[in-house]
């Protein structure tokens, strides 16, 4: 589904990704771990299409097509979802309005009719119940005055409504207390499917107790230096990132 080869990317004068390669198939859950500054978030932003990052070499194919040729909104409509590390507050834009516009943009791309207002509300309420979200959040400004946990739940709500084929969740666990973490993990697990791939970008192993990955990759200085199964995350937790750096430079 996602084929990243020798990806090099920079922002401004700073090179961040140095020849990163990663292959993700449908149905798989990959965890990308690494110390601060290793390029985890850059990878997420490049796949989503942020124009602050320039790809200087390598390729990214999504379902066989060159992803880098597409605008962020085209990638989204093709089924790529980025759950933000810091979801943006947009006062004055109603949460329900954005959800509905997003769902309809994706549906139009799939050749489907716009979602009916009642159907939309029913679906949104169902998903919110699953995430332990108060339905009143639908009528608030997007992320406006939301707590950290509420913002992250809202990201997962958007993901649940959009049903992407590839979801990249950037530090979805950061700033969450244990209850919020469990609710978010439950929401993500409910979306695991043989047709969908999920990439979890995380600094800590903790999230992986709740969302068990099929593969774990360790990123250091802009490339994947180690890949393994879930036991790699535990090993990393035990030995620390210094171990990876040593392994990388060895």
């Amino acid at each position: 589904m996602l084929e990243i080869s020798n990806l090099n990317a920079r922002t401004g004068d700073t090179d961040i990704l140095h020849g990163l390669s990663l292959s993700v198939n449908k149905g798989e859950v990959h965890a990308i771990m690494g110390p601060n500054g290793s390029g985890k978030s850059t990878l997420a932003q490049v796949v989503a299409g942020h124009d602050a990052y320039e790809v200087t070499d390598g390729s990214v194919l999504f379902n066989g097509n060159n992803l880098l040729d597409l605008e962020p909104e085209e990638r989204a409509r093709d089924g790529i979802f980025l759950g933000f590390q810091y979801p943006v507050e947009i006062p004055g834009v109603n949460n329900a309005y954005l959800l509905k516009a997003a769902v309809n943009a994706r549906r139009a791309h799939q050749g489907l009719e716009e979602i009916d207002a009642f159907e939309f509300l029913k679906l949104a309420r169902e998903k919110m119940a699953l995430l332990g979200m108060d339905p009143k959040f639908l009528n608030r400004g997007v992320n406006e005055g939301f707590s950290g946990g509420e913002k992250k739940r809202n990201e997962i709500l958007q993901m649940a409504m959009l049903e992407p084929t590839l979801a990249i969740l950037d530090e979805t666990d950061s700033g969450l207390d244990i209850d919020a973490l469990k609710a978010v993990a439950e929401g993500v697990n409910a979306l695991r499917s043989p047709e969908r791939a999920i990439i979890l970008v995380t600094h800590y192993q903790r999230l992986l107790d709740y969302i068990v990955p099929d593969f774990v990759h360790v990123l250091s200085e802009g490339r994947i230096v180690r890949s393994g199964d879930k036991s790699l995350a535990l090993e990393l937790e035990e030995k620390g990132y210094e171990w990876v750096r040593e392994a990388a430079s060895a």
């Binding site: 943006v88 834009v93 943009a105």
Partner: protein
């Protein structure tokens, strides 16, 4: 060099011609006062960015063809459309004349409506003097003691200039007696290809414990000009909430002056201006805290595109002895084109103790992070921009004090932004 004054002889003749109308004595006093000062010019600090040369020129040509001699048929369908959209008791003024056919009967036990007749009309402002000297149907509205008027009183200025230059000089007094409550909608509209200048002065006086909710809506032709001033005096514990929306006008200048003369009075005033093409929209506000404790809070927002130029100047003066005053000011601007301009200036003068004052002004473009966020949710950049621009506007529109109008105000904003096309 701007022309700053009109021919005194022509003005005198025009005022004399109106002597058969109400307030003959006041007119002469006002005329003399106006002649002493003439129109404000950019040399006056308060008029630094707004040049009335064009307005003087229109007035001159209007005086030359004898005011009121060129009859203009009212744009009746436009008036009826507004009347059917907004539920209010309407007083309709056409080029300064009260149109009794289209106006609703306002006389009741609760409200008195009378012609302004030799009241003291001078308020230390040349444009107010000009309106006092040349007004056609000046109206006084009085809401009786303890009367609660639910249905808004609508003041519709529907002006028209098709053949010759036209000028509207209008004057309204609104008095709320103690304990009364009223809502007012002031709507400015104009049409026609000839030049038009409207100068409207409104005086508001609230008794103790009175409450006034006020919405001013300016949707003039974008080739016409206006100056408008509302002076309000708030008595003990009275409340005034005001919202102004400026969408039209080649040149529009609004002055809102609120005098907090009674303890525990409160003033909340907000506004939105949308400038496009070569529009010039200037909002000056001034609040005088003369006694404490009292509270004033204002937020104005602006969206500017094309080569438009807007001005927001908010002055708050906390006078000596007005301890316990609380004054907040905010002004936020969205510049959508590199050729548009905003001159924003908050001014605080504090001469009292135990005062809480704050001000904040921002000027910027749409938030890039928010744009990217919306795009990652599948929205086109143009839709994302449209949504963010409307959200910026909606946030202040929702502060307007007549909730029944929110939908209409948002719709008018939406329509105007759509007219601006791809820029927003």
């Amino acid at each position: 060099m701007s022309v700053v004054s009109l021919s005194p002889d022509a003005l005198q003749r025009a005022v004399d011609d109106l002597s058969g109308n109400s307030a003959a004595e006041s007119r002469q006093v006002a005329l003399q006062q106006f002649l002493q000062r003439g129109f404000p010019t950019p040399r006056d600090e308060d008029w630094k960015y707004t040049d009335l040369a064009k307005v003087v020129d229109i007035s001159e040509r209007w005086l030359a063809h004898a005011p009121d001699a060129v009859a203009e048929p009212l744009d009746e369908s436009a008036v009826r459309e507004i009347q059917s959209t907004i539920d209010a008791t309407w007083l309709v003024f056409s080029n300064g004349r009260l149109n009794s056919d289209l106006s609703d009967a306002l006389l009741s036990e609760a409200i008195d409506v009378t012609a302004i007749d030799n009241e003291a009309l001078t308020v230390d402002d040349p444009l107010a003097d000009l309106s006092a000297a040349l007004m056609l149907d000046g109206i006084s509205i009085r809401v009786g003691e303890a009367m609660q008027i639910e249905k808004p009183i609508g003041l519709l200025f529907a002006d028209r200039a098709t053949k010759a230059p036209q000028v509207t000089q209008a004057r309204i007094n609104i008095r709320l007696e103690a304990g009364s409550a009223a809502r007012v909608i002031e709507y400015h509209l104009s049409s026609g290809d000839a030049d038009h200048y409207s100068n409207v002065h409104i005086d508001v006086d609230t008794g103790a414990d009175a409450s006034l909710d006020y919405v001013r809506l300016q949707k003039r032709s974008r080739s016409h000009s206006q100056t408008q001033r509302l002076n309000a005096r708030l008595n003990d514990r009275s409340i005034m909430r005001h919202f102004g929306l400026d969408l039209g006008g080649a040149l529009a200048r609004n002055d809102l002056k609120i005098d907090i003369a009674g303890a525990a009075a409160s003033a909340e005033f907000n506004g939105l201006y949308i400038g496009a093409e070569k529009q010039h929209i200037d909002n000056h506000t001034r609040v005088d805290h003369r006694i404490g404790p009292a509270r004033s809070v204002q937020e104005y927002r602006g969206i500017m595109s094309g080569r438009s130029r807007c001005v927001w100047n908010g002055k708050a003066i906390v006078h000596a002895g007005a301890d316990g005053s609380d004054a907040e000011q905010a002004n936020h601007n969205l510049l959508l084109s590199e050729h548009s301009e905003i001159n924003a200036k908050p001014e605080l003068e504090i001469y009292a103790d135990e005062v809480k004052c704050s001000h904040g002004t921002t000027v910027g473009q749409l938030d890039e992070a928010a744009l990217f966020y919306l795009r990652t949710r599948g929205l086109n950049p143009s839709d994302a921009k449209r949504i963010l621009t409307r959200a910026f506007a909606t946030r202040v529109v929702e502060k307007s004090p007549i909730p029944e109008l929110h939908e209409l105000l948002n719709l008018l904003v939406e329509t105007r932004l759509t007219e601006l096309g791809s820029e927003v």
